[in-house]
């Protein structure tokens, strides 16, 4: 059909641009702990040429709780359950039926994934030994970012040299800051800054988990990390490192090394995703 609106043409995408998702990740036990209780998971599907599938990337960081027994089991189990549910409900449907496949709201799929992971934890508890984990899962679907988040692992978005924290820590100090009772400076040195008030422990969750979406810029870097990174190095160091002219893997290596050199008091995990959409 003839378009009457051709004169109104909007800026079209450069036909030679190739969208891409690139991933680099590191996980390290640190300098103090005996065991790495962090888990990360990345999955990237890229399709080009004819529009087969939208870009699809799933990135998960889970930090098994240090104080609890079996923290490493918890982070592993939760990451696997969440990855399985999201890939099964969204990615497999896309492959099977194409673009029109997604019928259930994406955020509901992510909420279900967390709920299933929590149930799996409940079932896996041994002899009443407590185990728990944080969870930060990011899904890139088309040009949109979906996040589900429990605990104090974090997601950052770097865009045009501006670093912004996308998640909200479920920590006592963050709650105090939100209530205006603590400044960011005071929070950084607060003796209880490691106290997390929400983690997945297989117990009934009183509040719904944080799940939200935002559109992504054309170009940027997404970073997921455990508090072993952010507890050691500040946001200015992270922003500077991500802004440097380095390969993505070199950036991940450098972030890890910075955290190790400043003490490495906890397990350190970092996942970097550079996207061009």
């Amino acid at each position: 059909m003839h378009s009457p609106f051709e004169a109104q043409d909007s800026p079209k995408q450069d036909p030679n641009r190739e969208p891409r998702l690139e991933v680099a990740s590191r996980s390290h036990v640190g300098m103090v702990r005996e065991r790495n209780e962090d888990t990360y998971f990345t999955f990237v599907s890229q399709a080009g040429g004819a529009e087969l599938l939208p870009h699809f990337g799933l990135f998960i960081v889970a930090d098994g709780m240090g104080g609890h027994n079996d923290g490493h089991r918890a982070s592993k189990l939760v990451a696997r359950t969440v990855a399985h549910h999201i890939l099964d409900r969204l990615y497999r449907s896309l492959l099977r039926e194409g673009h029109s496949a997604i019928q259930q709201p994406v955020q509901e799929v992510m909420e279900e994934a967390v709920s299933l992971a929590n149930q799996a934890l409940a079932a896996a508890v041994n002899d009443g030994k407590e185990m728990g984990t944080t969870l930060t899962a990011a899904l890139i679907l088309g040009s949109r970012l979906f996040l589900v988040h429990v605990g104090d692992s974090r997601a950052y978005l770097m865009q045009e040299l501006q670093l912004s924290l996308v998640t909200t820590d479920h920590t006592i100090v963050q709650a105090l800051q939100d209530a205006g009772q603590l400044s960011a400076e005071e929070a950084a040195i607060h003796p209880n800054r490691n106290l997390v008030y929400r983690v997945l422990m297989g117990e009934t969750m009183e509040e719904p988990v944080d799940v939200f979406t935002r559109s992504l810029p054309r170009h940027g870097t997404l970073m997921l990390c455990s508090d072993g990174l952010t507890g050691q190095i500040g946001e200015s160091t992270i922003a500077r490192t991500l802004g440097e002219d380095l390969d993505l893997q070199e950036k991940a290596d450098r972030l890890l090394n910075e955290a190790l050199q400043t003490g490495g008091s906890d397990n350190i995990t970092v996942v970097l995703v550079e996207f061009d959409l």
Binding site: M1, S3, P4, S10, P105, Q107, E108, G142, P208, T213
Partner: protein, 660 residues
């Protein structure tokens, strides 16, 4: 039924001596009379075949033949099994109810017994559940429920002994082509003998707990009935859920459309303790009749939209349009006496000859509004003084739109009018194939609107010529939202469409009921309400659902966004503020009527009308009431704010100018 799978069955058969191996094949004859045509189903102990009765050689008389294979190695048990079969035949032969399948014949050959039954065309409810992807309407389910209840009641009242069906589940309920229910497979139905412990059990998920202890009673059928209805209304297969977990799976959590009264009845049916259920189908039927009465009395929400309610239906006295919204008691009060309940007073008012349900438009010192008296009025925004009016040949339920020097408005007379904004003279009109309840929107020198003729139109604002029209397959009463070079609108068929500027469909999304609400786009997310009670957030590029937010009643109100929040009204009486990024409720504000009016946001406050007759202003951030203004009729019109003044119409025939 027993735990035999098909595979076990064939293995057992292969092992058997002097036994027919495997299933009957098409062409096989039984009793020199019944020719097998095909297999209808295979169960644990039995198979069901379709056969032709060759006694009627000149016509094709079909029947269903149920074959029971006697697999038990123990002769005693084999004997019991045969007796079970004979009992089924005898019971069935004595029954006389239109919903009970009739028995023509029965016989045994070797170690197999056969029951010749009436062949019922149609499908069982389980197959229908599998084929249909949508949730059944509760009216439909209630109709089936009454029919099932009726036949269960017949069985439970059977003399001398009540008959317990014992295997109530969707696959045992056939729906014939006339929409009538037929109960099939009385395989384990047995004469009720309270002292005797029965051996076989029903189907896991549908069978009551006491049946596993060998107890069968009419209350067990009540449980199976409840389990069947729960499955039909939630689409959650109880065989896949934890046993006896109905109480943890309330129906409204999955299907909010189900009336609380119906849910209450079903939940009582699936009580774990038999004593807490209805004792028999008779009692249950009484409870269902109560549900039906309440649904008929208390279900004011009918299909046509209120915001743009079809005047045709209203004028013809269609009760649905009037029932749609309960008139406030004050509706007859004279305008001068009603300000007592208001905390602000009007700057001016203007009276039309009929109700104002549409939303005004304001441009360059003039307010334009359409009324049910067929006129578009142009008034001075300063003092409400009359400038001109333009008569359409039928009522105007849609809202005017001002673009360049013209006012665009659609009418139930099927015309879209372009009127000169200063003189009120007609520039041109375009006649669609059906009434226009969709309000026009103009952009890029084209005006976009939908019609009840199922098309979405793009018409040149200069010439009135159609640039393109796109078939949406259902009436379009939603208005088009034009953003990011895309056109978004909803249809009465429940779809949200996204078109490009050439009118080509880019994607469509299906809600469960009509989408009369007009979509809006914010942060790459399309937001829209549906008559299925739900607010949907869809990805602008693909139409994928991102989240959904359920209210208690249908949504006609169109969403408006401000600062990361979407505001929308519902027929449940509340205005909702929902966070766009997460789909979580920030606050809700309850009125005493329904909110069909679409909210407007200005300077940190949200404004909206309710059918309780009041215009409200609430703070955007917390939902705290700022002021309210009581009109003399329902407020279905949406507010428009210009230069610190809010304009809104009321069913009391007045247009009000209020200070914000």
């Amino acid at each position: 039924m027993g735990g035999f799978t098909t595979r076990q069955l064939s293995r057992e058969q292969a092992r058997g001596r002097n036994r027919r191996s495997g299933q009957l094949q098409p062409g096989d004859m039984l009793q020199d009379r019944y020719r097998i045509i095909g297999t209808l189903g295979v169960g644990g102990f039995s198979s069901v075949y379709q056969a032709r009765d060759m006694r009627f050689a000149n016509v094709t008389k079909l029947c269903a033949i149920k074959e029971m294979v006697n697999l038990a190695p123990d002769p005693k048990i084999r004997e019991i099994t045969t007796r079970t079969f004979e009992r089924e035949a005898s019971i069935l032969a004595t029954l006389d109810h239109p919903a009970v399948v009739s028995v023509h014949d029965y016989f045994s050959e070797a170690d197999r017994s056969y029951l010749v039954l009436e062949f019922i065309r149609g499908k069982d409810l389980e197959s229908i559940l599998t084929e249909v992807t949508e949730v059944f309407e509760q009216e439909q389910v209630l109709d089936w429920a009454f029919q099932i209840c009726d036949v269960l009641s017949y069985l439970h009242n059977h003399r001398p002994d009540p008959i317990v069906f014992r295997d109530m589940k969707p696959s045992n309920v056939m729906l014939d082509p006339h929409g009538r229910i037929r109960l099939i497979d009385f395989g384990i139905a047995k004469l009720f003998q309270s002292e005797e412990k029965n051996t076989t059990i029903g189907t896991e998920g549908y069978a009551p707990p006491e049946q596993y202890r060998g107890e069968a009673s009419p209350a067990g059928d009540v449980y199976g009935f409840g389990a069947t209805l729960h499955h039909l209304l939630t689409r959650q297969d109880p065989r896949l859920e934890p046993p006896f977990s109905f109480q943890e799976r309330p129906i409204h959590a999955i299907n909010p459309d189900v009336s609380p009264a119906l849910e209450q009845v079903i939940m009582r049916c699936v009580s774990y303790n038999a004593a807490e259920r209805y004792t028999n189908a008779e009692q249950l039927k009484k409870a269902l009749e109560g549900v039906e009465r309440r649904m008929n009395n208390l279900s004011p929400m009918a299909p046509p939209s209120a915001a743009q309610a079809s005047p045709r239906e209203r004028l013809q006295g269609d009760p649905s349009a009037e029932q749609l919204i309960t008139r406030p008691r004050e509706s007859t009060t004279v305008v001068n006496n009603i300000f007592d309940e208001s905390t602000v007073g009007p700057i001016w008012t203007f009276r039309c000859e009929d109700e104002i349900r549409s939303t005004p438009a304001v441009a360059r010192g003039t307010v334009f509004v359409g009324a049910y008296d067929n006129n578009v009025y142009a008034l001075s925004s300063r003092d409400g003084s009359f400038r001109w009016k333009f008569p359409a040949s039928d009522s105007i339920a849609a809202s005017p739109y001002v673009y360049n020097d013209a006012v665009y408005i659609g009418s139930a007379d099927s015309n879209l009018y372009s009127i000169h904004m200063h003189t009120g003279r007609l520039n041109w009109r375009h006649t669609a194939g059906g009434p226009i309840y969709s309000s026009p929107r103009a952009k890029f020198d084209h005006v976009f609107f939908g019609s009840d003729d199922n098309f979405l139109y793009a018409v040149s604002t200069g010439s009135g010529r159609v640039a393109w029209k796109t078939n949406a397959f259902h009436p379009v009463r939603s208005s088009a939202h034009v953003a990011e070079d895309l056109v978004f609108f909803g249809t009465e068929g429940g779809y949200v469409f996204c078109l490009d500027l050439a009118g080509q469909v880019k994607w469509q999304f299906q809600a469960r009921r009509a989408v009369t609400s007009t979509p809006t786009v914010d942060e790459g997310i399309v937001l829209v309400g549906s008559m299925d009670n739900t607010v949907y957030a869809l990805d602008v590029a693909s139409g994928w659902p991102i989240w959904r937010f359920r209210t208690q009643r249908p949504i006609i109100s169109s969403p408006v966004t401000h600062d990361g929040t979407v505001f929308i009204g519902s027929a449940d009486g509340s205005l909702y503020a929902i966070e766009i990024s997460s789909g979580r409720k920030i606050w809700s504000f309850e009125t005493e009527g329904q909110i069909a009016s679409s909210p407007a946001v200005w300077n940190g406050a949200v404004y909206f009308g309710s059918t309780d007759g009041t215009v409200y202003s609430a703070e955007c951030s917390k939902g705290k009431l700022r002021w309210r203004f009581k009109t003399g009729g329902m407020v279905i019109s949406s507010p428009v704010i210009d230069d610190g003044v809010l304009y809104i119409g009321s069913v009391d025939h007045h247009l009000y100018a209020l200070p914000v």
